[in-house]
Symmetry: D2
Subunit: 411 residues, 4 copies
């Protein structure tokens, strides 16, 4: 059993961080107030498997304050140790260790699942898949889960199509309030900034290859371009390619782009999106990172097998290829904004984590009646959250009138 003790100094540091983010998360505060004044999640066991940083901790505490029994898991590359201690100081069980190996992360995940959560919030569907593979009894009794990212929705759809998904999963990722904001503005901005922060380089005048032009990729491209980069997009879907072309980017295959590429953002969420052959074709000193997904998109086995690597700066390891060309890998290929930065901006996580809180509320209320499968967030939830956020920014929507309602429904 993992110790849930904590260090006071670390806990204090984590608490300061959590207090800071609370200032800019008014939507979650309003949902916390609503849940606290009801019994909806009281006594429910909720398992949170998200990037473990102060914004997530704020969700965890909100759920705890509303009476649920929360436990937390996160893989090593997504853990801020002082936040772990701050949560433990609040009595939350946290199954996470910044120093864990991949195997240890899996052991922590199993220990976490032993807490027998009624409701899971997952990122990448890692724990949902683990539960289906190894904890069939737990799955049978769960009220459901919510999934945070594109990379997780894809395998969940594959599970559903194969008839193997046993619980209702609320697809938070495909809420407009998630992908239009978290993926484009949040991950897009913070990954570009984290890469610049780690390297102290500039983008103006550089060629940046963005692999994958989904919401994250288009956000990365938009922000890189806004900072003066010449963006090249490689994407499988020809319609998205055309969109990239209209957004002013060059569009071609990775191989065609390789000789002019100076910085790479992999934002596909697809295993093996970038191959060793791609790397060999690129320039010396290419800067390589992932945005949104993880290092499974990169040829990590190839790089690690080279036997020629050295740390050249905090978060930067230089690998020397057989050709003598060097690859500068950022944050070990993990998602750069979380592993080498503070993750998404606070306001954007207030949207995403509020969606998660509402998904938990929905599962607690109706999960037992929902079919196994993938369910959308309702328009009602989206509209309520968006309206709260607008008000917090001093903005508002145009008021609906009976005349407009009629004009929009008649023919």
């Amino acid at each position: 059993m993992i110790s849930q003790g904590y260090d006071h100094v670390l806990a204090s540091s984590g608490q300061q961080k959590i207090e800071w983010v609370r200032r800019s998360m008014p939507i979650l505060a309003s949902i916390e107030a609503r849940l606290t004044s009801s019994t909806t999640i009281k006594g429910r066991r909720v398992g949170i498997c998200l990037v473990l940083e102060p914004k997530t901790a704020n969700l965890v505490l909100a759920l705890r304050n509303a009476g649920s029994d929360v436990s937390v898991w996160a893989p090593a590359d997504c853990v801020q140790t002082d936040v772990v201690h701050a949560l433990r100081a609040e009595g939350i069980q946290v199954f996470a260790d910044e120093q864990a190996t991949d195997a240890q992360d899996m052991e922590l995940a199993r220990a976490f699942l032993e807490t027998r959560p009624h409701i899971l919030v997952d990122d990448g569907a890692r724990i949902i898949r683990l539960a289906h593979r190894e904890f069939p009894e737990l799955v049978k009794n769960m009220m459901g889960a919510a999934e945070e990212t594109t990379s997780g929705v894809r395998p969940l759809r594959a599970m559903f199509n194969a008839g193997e998904l046993r619980i209702p999963v609320i697809n938070v990722n495909d809420s407009r309030l998630k992908y239009l904001f978290d993926n484009v503005y949040g991950t897009g901005q913070s990954c570009v900034m984290a890469m610049l922060d780690v390297t102290n380089l500039q983008l103006a005048g550089r060629h940046v290859l963005v692999i994958g032009y989904g919401w994250v990729g288009s956000g990365v491209a938009r922000h890189a371009s806004a900072l003066g980069a010449k963006v090249i997009v490689a994407e499988l879907d020809p319609v998205k390619c055309l969109q990239a072309l209209h957004d002013g980017h060059k569009v071609c295959s990775i191989m065609e782009a390789a000789s002019s590429t100076e910085v790479v953002f992999a934002s596909t969420g697809i295993e093996g999106a970038l191959s060793a052959a791609h790397l060999e074709a690129m320039n010396d000193q290419v800067v390589l990172c992932t945005a949104g997904g993880g290092n499974y998109e990169l040829p990590m086995a190839f790089l690690r097998g080279l036997g020629r690597s050295k740390a050249v700066r905090n978060h930067v390891v230089e690998y020397t290829l057989p050709s003598g060309k060097r690859v500068l890998l950022i944050a070990d290929g993990h998602c750069v904004n979380c592993s080498a930065g503070e993750g998404n901006p606070i306001e954007v996580m207030d949207l995403s984590l509020s969606l998660q809180a509402c998904a938990i509320e929905e599962l607690a209320l109706n999960g037992s009646n929902m079919a196994a499968g993938i369910h959308p967030i309702s328009d009602t939830i989206e509209n309520a959250i968006a309206t709260t956020r607008l008000a917090a920014s001093g903005a508002s929507s145009e008021p609906m009138t009976p005349q407009l309602t009629q004009a929009m429904t008649q023919w």
Copy 2:
């Protein structure tokens, strides 16, 4: 019966325009070649009800060249007379008159429907609705229709929900290849440019109110902002409001925006979106136009009833309100890019009209087996068109590999 005679000088002018656009419509040329080498639309009666300008004429001629019997209708504010003559010189029946009143336009539409088209291509669902109201026998025998715009899809959905839609309609508007390009880049860019062209004003430093933040409105806002305007967005949907906020625009109600507004673009497609009270609250000399929809969005009856108007420039009429403040109405409130400009850019119409050509092909092949209702364009058609367009721009998508296919489908 409307005369189908033509004037040689006008026809020659129209032909020159059509030849010009053919240079930049390679996708439609490739579809024309495919249809011509098959019998798919041979002998089919096709009715085209789109903005009648050279790009549409190129579609009409492509369908004719492939063996179909094409006739054309368009309302007065969407007609270029020399293009009418050029089509008639080619033997196409055209039911359109730049000088027609609204009532005469309806008579022309009825005459057009008397040609008994098997397949209709509509814009705003005006003719589909007319046919359902007045030509039930025709509707019974039609293979189907295709719809071009958001403003048309909305009433079609209302018809369908009311159980009153009798034919399959292919929803071209909601193809990503349509709304991501035609609406955002095409209509967005060309409406902003047409307004500037008509007025010779600049946007830098001005407050521009965009009503409606759908695809067209967001395109108008993007282009106005790129030209230096401070954009204010009024929108009913709070999620779209939030998107506008993140795109850097001010977001509030029309009434709150009124006192700082200098230019208005209505892009809602909703009748009565802008009221007389809104106009009264605005600045003296506000410039007023619509983008994407039509003057039904504006309080035209109020303006016309004022009895105080004068033409102050080509395409600009000044109305004086009871308060003494003046409204500068562009293009009589009709969609500004078509009525006071050349409509969308050629390349973007190559996409949209190629979708229409593929929709006609699909209806000719399968329309008889399709249920009454609203049907999407297939991914296969979208991908084929996008790939042709990419190649025409010297771009290409990332090639799919067996490994990637496997990575995307397993869990």
Copy 3:
């Protein structure tokens, strides 16, 4: 002697245009009021040699209203005939003919100089140079001149360096209020828009070559890029090249750019900037125009000598090169915004023409005491004009305080 008669219908059309622009020229109106209430320019003969369109006409009338005796010259490609008639209807002598040949334009210029202006406002220094070559007695008695453009300041500096400039010339072009607004936002925006308007093409996804990255070229590049173009810059000055690189553009020689270029804007003001060899290296159907300067930048003798040209659209002539490749020349190579559009936006010309009015005022007051040479516009004039313009836009500068004054002048 050229007839100064006029046609009532044309004059009326021109008058309507002038009235329209007066609505948006508040700065010039305030200067007109000041000059009218003084005797500064009363009875002075002022010669205006600017693009002859409604905004210029408004300056001409303002000067006439303030008591000066104004005459006007403009070359054929810069003449709007109805504006000529409107000015003549007001009793202004206009030496301009939209149909004139180059030789006839020179004869008109000589007739114009026979009116013996005390003060000249020139564009490109054409008339100042003509006066120095052929009218030495006139030059001896002139109070001075003002010059509008970069293309004119360059030869004036050469004249001054050669000891051959005999009058004081106020360099309006190098006022920040001119080049930061007229050249960047005015000419930049209006040339890109005029090219799109003439061709009905779009820029999204296209490669646009901008030759010359001065104020006009950077404005063209900024607007083309904002509309989705991939901009390539060719520029002699390596520092400006670096600026273009940081603005996100590709930077290389014309020859290196040729094979990917689809649209060319020449914005150098330098004779022969684009050669026949450059054209031969470009793609079939390249679109060619100038922004800011004139067709002397292009290999016009080569194109005209080909013997293979045809008009393919209003303002577009197609030339076929020996290789078979075609060049689409816009507006006969003249500055595209003036020759195929309405010139700069009204607001921007309110700034530039107000500077001209102040330069005339300054020459009338002090010209006799100013040394032959090139003189800047004073900060006082610039600040007064800028402050008027800010107020007209509802904006204002931060008020100066004694503390700030002291902080800025002490060490």
Copy 4:
């Protein structure tokens, strides 16, 4: 005497950082090679007073490698301790201490001047002014100095106008290669990023007040706007105000902006630009930082005198005003990119520090013959540096030809 001993671990950390920046500073490397192969600066005592971080350290080592005797001073808020140790490990005398008080910084500066530099490189003209006040004999024997920033050029001009500047100063700041790149892209980008990095907030949807619209302010505004902020500009100069208006920003006084301001960047370089009254008028929790200048722009005495402050996050102190409203001060009001980030991007400092290296070379060659006063960097130096930088980016300028030279010099 300050100890010049060093810690091996810290020195090693600093060395790694210096090695990293060397990878992206090819221009300085080429100048180092030229200086090393000559005797120009051999044996010269050079004093460097710039932000003490790895890029500056690379300049210091380059000068040392070329044979000069370099010493370094920097104020506490501009010191990276590991870089200090790395330089001392190389035998460089460094007069800087991250923990120093203001008074101790002055003592360090005096000790630094006791090294009797022939040539000074200064930032803010602090040391040039100190030398003029307290070290008149040193000043008498100096070859000259170079100044890095706008904030320093202003007092130098005041000194010159008062007849009190005794040495030639090369004005590096007003080189186009400096202000167009370092100030706009370097400081502009890195200050916006450092503020976001410190706070983990986002700019999309927020109102950002930029005080001062010089090169730094316009760069901050451009980058904030690119990240979705609504920018408000307060500026004394009406022409710059007009430029801000055309760039799409709102322009008004600080007081008018106060009630909507959420984030402030002071970028004036002027003492007292922001007053206590301004702060009282702003929103609760306004985020306050400086870009380019320093905390003398802010009402630090007022804030410190409040007696109500607490650290709420790394680099963030919250001050509570008498009204109860809170101010979140970043980096103690010091220039945010240097004090809470890594300063400018490496590439941009390669330009600026290469200019400094060339200024030192120029002073070593000709300083004794240069008049006391402010001297520009020569075009030859600028062009050489720009050309090297273009080549490093795979770009190039258009080649000059005899025909173009003739076209540009004749009239």
